[in-house]
């Protein structure tokens, strides 16, 4: 049952428009109920070829050698694609917005970093022929130590997952190994609080599970173009990614999509389009690359598992005067979009409440897990679960009605938020009041009388006179021209490793030794007894397909505001 409570905020709306506000039928509904809505796979091509990938069985391993000779002779096989066939075999999704370093290959070359990472692609007449050929490919792996837990991954000595970010954290603003939020003085306020409430919260990785699996079909079009039917959630993300990795002019790519069988964030990653087009380029035939359900669940990027620690300082009357977060996003082996979600999550803290002292440290951590990506509520769902479960603990601790606790602390129009912008257009209090009334959950009359429109601003609009800032997690070498990605970060001077730092040849990206670690955030020091990098990753200088020399390393490494650096 749904009702529209038009009496709320009525004076802010014009309810007498012609089309807006009407329960008009969906434009696509007739197509849906007749089975005629054209999804990407509903385009038929004569001579369609299929593409499937050989995937890593290991969490972390060096690829010693790959032998595809037998697979190439299998019936129906048209092309076996290796890393060297990819024109630019390194990308990061947000490079299209100039955020972050290229860190993920289309096909693994030197090593695999997660179970399911694609190593070889086979194009054949049927999917079955692809699988039969894949079974004949011989890969010699040297298994490496792996790490699957975010807090283990940033401990000294943890295996280095992602060669682009050798200490397993994304780098924010060329400066810190985490994203900071500082508003007021949390530690001082915690000392003044009547109660301190602590909690630890863990999300699980979650599959977007659209009923249509991800995929794309690429076919030759006239005049040396390619037409691509795709399930992407972001047409130009996928087009731009394909143009970049295949080194093709974007107007040679004709992308058609827009009718998609559910996405929920799982169809942003632009995995299928570049691969299908590459298969099409190499065979001259239409090529379909789509995941089956098992791939969708185990290879497709999930909503990442976030871990949050929250510490609240609360007064006896229910006012929360301090809130501290430490968060770890499990990005998996590559960045995809986790780095971005952390900034989004940081801007969201401390939730819809006005709290005068807030701090957070959020880490984007690389582990040998399936890369994580967007999902409905990305960057927010996990921390909202944590905040609201924590609010319930606060209510229990001080014996307060949980809804009254929310209303008391709710942000209102004119309040200063922790990211230092004034709140406007707020409506949390009204939502609390309406649902309490619906569910017959009694709240006091003074709470029924409160309003998002009243009582905000004034002192609540002020930025704290003193904000405690710190340089914990600062990365040595930041701001220098040698900072950021190094073309050959994994070539230490010696294969043995008794007492030298983990990455002696890399001046950049070693944490400053000064600060004291926060709880749950162990001090970051170079590994004393890490596995020797040289034994794990030693690129051959003469690799023709190695793209690192072709990319402007330092300038592309940017903060989210990197656009201004161009």
């Amino acid at each position: 049952m749904i009702e529209f409570r038009k009496e709320y905020f009525a004076d802010e709306r014009d309810d007498n428009l012609n089309e807006i506000g009407k329960p008009t039928q969906r434009q696509d509904m007739l197509g849906h109920v007749t089975g005629r809505s054209p999804y990407f796979d509903d385009h038929l091509f004569d001579g369609l070829l299929h593409l499937k990938c050989l995937r890593s069985p290991h969490h972390h391993a060096r690829i010693r050698s790959v032998d595809t000779s037998e697979a190439e002779r299998m019936p129906g096989v048209k092309k076996v694609i290796r890393a060297r066939d990819v024109p630019l075999n390194l990308n990061t999704l947000l490079s299209l917005m100039d955020f972050g370093l290229d860190d993920e290959p289309m096909l693994a070359d030197k090593k695999v970093c997660y179970v399911g990472e694609p190593v070889v692609a086979v194009v054949a007449e049927t999917e079955r022929a692809c699988f039969d050929a894949i079974a004949k490919i011989r890969v010699d792996y040297e298994v490496l130590p792996h790490v699957l837990d975010v807090e283990e991954a940033i401990k000294p000595g943890a295996p280095s997952v992602n060669p682009t970010y050798p200490t397993n954290t994304f780098l924010y603003h060329e400066k810190y190994d985490h994203q900071k939020l500082r508003f007021g003085d949390v530690e001082a306020a915690l000392r003044q609080a009547d109660h301190v409430v602590e909690g630890r919260y863990q999300m699980s990785p979650i599959e977007q599970a659209p009923t249509e699996t991800c995929g794309a079909i690429a076919a030759p079009e006239t005049n040396n173009r390619f037409v691509v039917y795709t399930s992407t959630q972001a047409l130009f993300f996928s087009l731009g990614t394909a143009a970049k990795m295949l080194k093709v002019s974007s107007n040679r790519l004709h992308f058609i999509g827009g009718t998609v069988g559910g996405g929920f964030g799982g169809k942003v990653d632009s995995i299928h389009e570049p691969m299908a087009i590459l298969g099409c380029m190499l065979t001259g035939k239409p090529v379909r690359y789509a995941w089956d359900r098992e791939e969708e669940m185990q290879v497709g990027a999930p909503r990442g598992a976030e871990r949050w620690y929250i510490t609240d300082g609360v007064m006896n009357d229910g006012r929360i005067i301090a809130r501290k977060f430490i968060g770890y996003f499990d990005s998996g082996a590559y960045t995809r979009l986790s780095s971005y979600a952390i900034i989004k999550g940081t801007g969201h803290l401390p939730g819809p409440y006005t709290i005068p002292n807030v701090s957070s440290d959020v880490y984007c951590v690389f582990t040998n897990r399936t890369p994580a990506t967007a999902m409905r509520g990305f960057g927010i769902t996990g921390v909202d679960f944590s905040i609201e479960a924590h609010m319930d603990k606060v209510a229990s601790k001080i014996g307060m009605n949980p809804i009254e606790l929310r209303i008391l602390n709710s942000y209102r129009d004119g309040d200063m938020k922790a990211h230092r912008r004034l709140a406007k257009n707020t409506a949390l209090i009204e939502c609390c009041q309406v649902v309490a009334e619906k569910a017959k959950w009694k709240i006091g009359s003074e709470y029924k009388a409160m309003s998002s429109l009243k009582g905000g601003g004034g002192e609540r609009a002020l930025i704290p006179a003193h904000t405690a800032i710190d340089q914990k997690g600062m990365v040595r070498g930041s701001g220098t021209s040698s900072f950021g990605y190094q073309p050959q970060p994994y070539v230490p001077s010696t294969p043995t490793f008794p007492s030298t730092p983990a990455f002696p040849s890399v001046p950049a990206y070693t944490p400053a030794a000064s600060s004291s670690p926060a709880p749950g955030a162990p001090e970051r020091r170079p590994a004393e007894n890490a596995p020797t990098p040289s034994s794990t990753y030693n690129p051959t200088p003469s690799q023709p397909a190695t793209p690192v020399e072709q990319r402007p390393a330092v300038n592309r490494f940017s903060s989210i505001s990197g656009l201004r650096r161009r």
Partner: protein, 160 residues
């Protein structure tokens, strides 16, 4: 690979095609015959997206060997409407906004049709059971249940 001739009725019209031995009904319908209304959802028989009717019974076409429908009658969503005249279920799905992405809709419609064909006045519980093999990730199922009940209540008459 060897190909095998198969003849069957699809939505009332005869089909005669050659299909690879061992191929499944979903592939034969989509790529062999060109009826794109049944969708691939999992290929494992766990999502119901590919549901079609064989002799009036709901079947997971991804797990049905194509050769087993030799001489049988197959129905898909493409045959649900008669010309421009929509089936009562199609009208009810529209009226109840029972589709968002629409990808599970053809399978849902077939599962629901099988129910209504044998039980024109199902209870809510019977509707729930009939569609419980079909996964929808968008709607939360409530609008779909309501749509099937509404179609049953219309008795097919309202929509002719």
């Amino acid at each position: 690979m060897a190909k095998k001739p198969i003849q069957f009725q699809l939505n009332g019209s005869g089909q005669a095609i050659f299909a690879e031995e061992g191929s499944n009904l979903l592939d034969v319908l989509r790529r062999g015959v060109g009826d794109l209304s049944p969708k691939y959802g999992c290929g494992q028989g766990t999502c119901g997206t590919c549901t079609v009717l064989v002799n009036g019974e709901p079947r997971l076409s991804c797990l049905t060997l194509a050769e087993t429908v030799e001489g049988q009658s197959v129905e898909t969503t493409a045959g649900l409407a008669h010309g421009p005249q929509l089936h009562a279920l199609q009208h009810a799905f529209m009226d109840n906004f029972a589709a968002q992405c629409g990808y599970c809709t053809p399978g849902m419609l077939m599962a629901a049709k099988a129910l209504l064909d044998r039980n024109p006045s199902p209870s809510r519980e019977e509707v729930v059971e009939a569609i419980s093999g079909n996964i929808c990730r968008c709607t939360g199922y409530e609008p779909i249940i309501n749509a099937v009940l509404a179609a049953a209540q219309s008795g097919g008459r309202r929509y002719g």
